[in-house]
């Protein structure tokens, strides 16, 4: 396949940045999207140009490091996959592909397609944990039975890989799917209920301080989420937050 890539190039956080055209040929449909970028970069380096920087690591869809807004969608046109698992067979010969970084004020661009998602980490520092010492001197694991449905729901929420596609896809750059998933995972488990009030208040406060927008329930996040995290988690967070606020 021969393609035209329009890629966002930005030297550093302060640079203005612009879209630059790159033709690329002999792309195999079996390549992953990132492997296609590898080929592009190899060519750029050989020509003496600077390669396009992008985040990636595990390349099997679980670490959440890769991002990219491809042809107007986070992680591209395929569903239930991250960019590293998006394959070129999703595109046609002659296509023009626009590649941009995940955009949000809370995710400033570091270089080219690399953005800083440490806002997610800071939200987690604020309360994304159960305050239990790691001494191992806890009670036996089977002393806390958990209803299987709750356990399954908690697991589904916990499958969030923190990639930020929800923020990137949301017209408001809201992080509520991410935070909702984190709040839900703990709120659904008996171990997590003890700190539920403080957790949700602190995490939402930090989320707001990071400059994410508000949720208007467009549902874009759920559709673009590579792990299919459900909007129910946002509703659950809203409930938890109301409950917590009324408690004072």
């Amino acid at each position: 396949m021969n393609l035209t890539l329009k890629i966002w190039r930005q030297k550093n956080a302060n640079d203005k940045g612009k879209l630059v055209n790159y033709p690329i040929s002999d792309v195999s449909p079996d390549m992953s999207f990132l492997e296609m970028l590898d080929v592009l970069n190899e060519g750029l380096i050989n020509k003496g140009d600077e390669p396009v920087e992008f985040d990636h690591d595990c390349r099997e869809g679980i670490c959440g490091m890769c991002s990219l807004y491809i042809n107007g969608e986070a992680h591209g046109p395929d569903r239930g996959v991250t960019t590293c698992q998006l394959h070129m067979r999703m595109f046609k010969d002659g296509d023009t592909i626009v590649i941009e970084p995940f955009r949000a004020t809370a995710f400033p661009v570091i270089k080219d397609l690399v953005v800083d998602r440490s806002a997610f980490d800071r939200i987690q520092h604020a309360g994304g944990f159960i305050s239990v010492n790691t001494s191992g001197n806890t009670i036996d694991a089977n002393a806390i039975p958990v209803n299987k449905h709750d356990a399954d729901d908690a697991f589904s929420a916990a499958t969030c890989i923190g990639c930020g596609a929800c923020v990137a896809s949301c017209k408001n750059s809201s992080a509520m799917l991410f935070v909702g998933a984190k709040v839900s995972q703990f709120a659904l488990l008996p171990q997590g209920k003890i700190e539920a009030t403080d957790r949700v208040l602190n995490m939402v406060k930090q989320m707001d301080e990071e400059g994410f927008g508000n949720c208007t329930n467009t549902g874009a996040c759920e559709v673009e989420c590579p792990k299919g995290i459900s909007l129910e988690n946002i509703a659950r967070m809203n409930r938890e937050y109301l409950k917590a606020s009324l408690k004072g």
Binding site: K6, W8, L19, Y69, N71, G72, E73, P77, V98, E100, R103, A104, T105, A106, S169, K171, N172, S173, S174, M176, V204, K205, M207, D208, G211, F212, G213, N214, C215, T216, N217, T218, G219, A220, V223, E224, L231, E232, I234, A235, R236, M237, N238, R239, E240, Y241, L242, S245, L246, G248
Partner: protein, 225 residues
Amino acid sequence: MSGILNSSIGRKVAMALSALFLMVFLLQHFAINMLSVFNPDTFNEVSHFMGTFWVIQYLMQPVLIFGVIFHFVMGFVLEIKNNSARKISYAKNNGNANSSWMSRNMIWSGLAILAFMILHFIDFWFPEMNIKYIQGDMSGLLADGEGFRYYEELVHKFENPIRVAAYCLAFVFLALHLLHGFMSAFQSVGANNKYTKSLKGFAKVYAIGIPLGFIFIALFHHLNH
């Protein structure tokens, strides 16, 4: 509790609660207007009751006005805040791939509704306030004293085809607003459960049915006279 409106979730819950309140009001408004089609006399009586009963006038009406203003102002505040959460927009964005047009354009459907409401206030509410509280005529009767004035006024307003067209257009926007807004309000207050699926069906009926009904009323009066 005071800090709650400073939080993102608090604000969206407030949006949702005001929306739910307005949707109840809309249903009530719709029901009364529908009377004008079937039974002008009852319509007149109910209108007079609504226009003069003190609980409605001095308690409910201010609450309603506050609700409307709050919903609009908060809507604008959130829109501005949300826009600033992404200062550089995408060169290419395929919103249709993941969300409905209605959900992404609540501000525009909302603005259209606001424009309509201004027209609506000029048409009905300001004259009503003028007659009742400035001129002091609380009788609700026509100038010649022959029966209530409400039905006649209503019919009179729908003579002008341009006004009717503007009303119909506004109701289309209302439908678009409700198509997203109804379910959105429930989601915002945290109601997403096993009933959500059935509620979605009801939401569609409400969001399309009510505005369609208003359009029917407008056209009915326009065409009948």
